[in-house]
């Protein structure tokens, strides 16, 4: 089942001679259990694609469907509800609230969505457990390392029944091993039945995806297709 579908999506900023075509007819589907990485140079449209997919930006033309529902037909309120319930965002800028503890940061969106505080707390603790931070539930973000904060942000993005996870350079400035643990979490969530889109300029991160699409000037110019059996690779000898 396709969780995310972009059909001939255009997004133009400005008009006339100064118009910038951030997206120029992008078609992309992401199925349940599939992680798609988007790579491309600065200004190629990666973040615009992610914002359109997540209902944070509206396409100039074309359709975006999340779990089969066209976003264009939703009211502002319905769109906000969809963003809270169905879509998880992990951005480089973590947007954690510093006056709230780790567990409160995760419980807040649930409570806003009508979940009882006690239940929201329980779900949030469980979510922190999943990212290996169950012991730090009561800590404030400022008392945590960068990697721990990023894990809290991931836990918040994945909490509840979100089926679509959108990540924009989710490892930020983390060291490579800590960064990799973030990718593993994302991968595990997708394998458990979500769909994921990962915007990155790091090929090592894109390696965790099932498919990598390359954007240039608002167009998808290439896609890495289906994978061979990995066991065949080493036998033939090396990366060269």
């Amino acid at each position: 089942m396709n969780i995310l579908e972009l059909r001939d999506v255009h997004r133009t900023h400005g008009v006339g001679d100064v118009a910038v075509h951030a997206l120029a007819g992008v078609d992309l589907t992401v199925a349940e259990g599939e992680l798609v990485a988007v790579m491309g140079p600065s200004g190629s449209g990666k973040s615009t694609l992610l914002n359109c997919a997540g209902g944070l930006d509206r396409p100039t033309s074309g359709d975006v469907l999340v779990e089969g529902k066209p976003l264009a037909g939703l009211t502002r309120k319905q769109l906000a509800a969809l963003r809270r319930r169905s879509i998880g965002y992990v951005f480089q800028d973590l947007n954690l609230l510093h006056s709230l503890t780790a567990v409160e940061n995760i419980a807040l969106p649930l409570e806003l969505d009508g979940v009882s505080p006690r239940r929201a707390h329980r779900i949030a603790v469980q979510s922190l457990d999943e990212v290996g931070l169950g012991d730090l539930a009561g800590r404030f973000p400022d008392d945590m390392s960068g990697g721990q904060q990023q894990r809290v942000a991931i836990a918040r993005a994945l909490v509840g029944d979100r089926r679509l996870v959108l990540a924009d350079e989710p490892t930020g400035a983390l060291d490579s091993v800590t960064g990799e643990s973030v990718l593993r979490l994302l991968r595990a969530r997708v394998d458990a039945g979500a769909a994921g889109v990962l915007v990155t300029h790091e090929a090592r991160h894109a390696g965790w995806a099932d498919r990598v699409v390359f954007l240039r000037d608002g167009n998808i110019v290439d896609t890495s297709g289906p994978l061979a059996q990995p066991e065949d690779l080493l036998a033939t000898g090396g990366a060269g």
Partner: protein, 208 residues
């Protein structure tokens, strides 16, 4: 790197016979470097001649080898000496791109993208391999896979850098990205670069 140093490192763990060495060598290199048993015995013969290993008396039809003090000193020296990368400029990809920018009619951006996609796909496969090996406690094997990942990533970064350099070099015709020879300049031999990449990429360019 020579098989010689690999065998010395393995013998530092304790005496082994030829077949054990072959198996242990292949395990520690993640299967990336298969050895035939003949190579192992030839190398052991040279190591013994040079006084770096000693053969022990035959036991059950198998002869074990043991590292000597001179062998340990050689091994320590090898670990302490940085690896030279001087052969890198002769890498085929480097040469292919160097020729591509100097050859009329080649869509260099498409050549770059073709390589980028292929290398990213290789990285996806290595990553799967790594993810599937989490239960393995074999650290050597994991390091080998990660080395391949980092090398592939370096290649991608270099390809990105080439593309940006190319774009800035010819700001007037960024779409074509093919250097036109100056009037009077002799065009290089068009058959010089490998033919398949430009052909494949020409199709991609047409799709755009």
């Amino acid at each position: 790197m020579s098989i010689k140093h690999g065998l010395l490192a393995l013998l530092e763990r304790g005496p082994m016979h030829g077949y054990q060495l072959k198996t242990a060598f292949e395990e520690s290199t993640g299967g990336t470097w298969p050895l035939n048993i003949g190579q192992v015995y030839t190398t052991l013969g040279r190591l013994e001649r040079d006084g770096l290993v000693e053969s022990l008396p035959e036991h059950d039809g198998q002869r074990e080898y043991e590292i000597t003090d001179a062998g340990r000193a050689e091994l320590a020296m090898w670990f302490a000496t940085p690896v030279s990368r001087t052969d890198r400029p002769r890498d085929e990809l480097t040469i292919k791109l160097a020729l591509a920018v100097a050859t009329p009619g080649v869509d260099v951006r498409a050549v770059l993208q073709g390589q980028r996609t292929a290398t990213v796909r290789t990285m996806q496969e290595y990553t799967r391999l790594k993810a599937s090996s989490d239960k393995r406690s074999d650290l050597s094997w994991r390091l080998v896979v990660e080395a391949m990942l980092f090398q592939a990533e370096a290649e991608i970064r270099w390809l990105d850098h080439c593309e940006t350099t190319l774009a800035r070099y010819q700001p007037e015709t960024p779409a074509a990205a093919v250097p036109t020879p100056e009037p009077g300049q002799t065009a290089p031999d068009r058959t010089a670069p490998a033919g398949t990449a430009p052909e494949r990429t020409a199709r991609k360019a047409g799709r755009r």
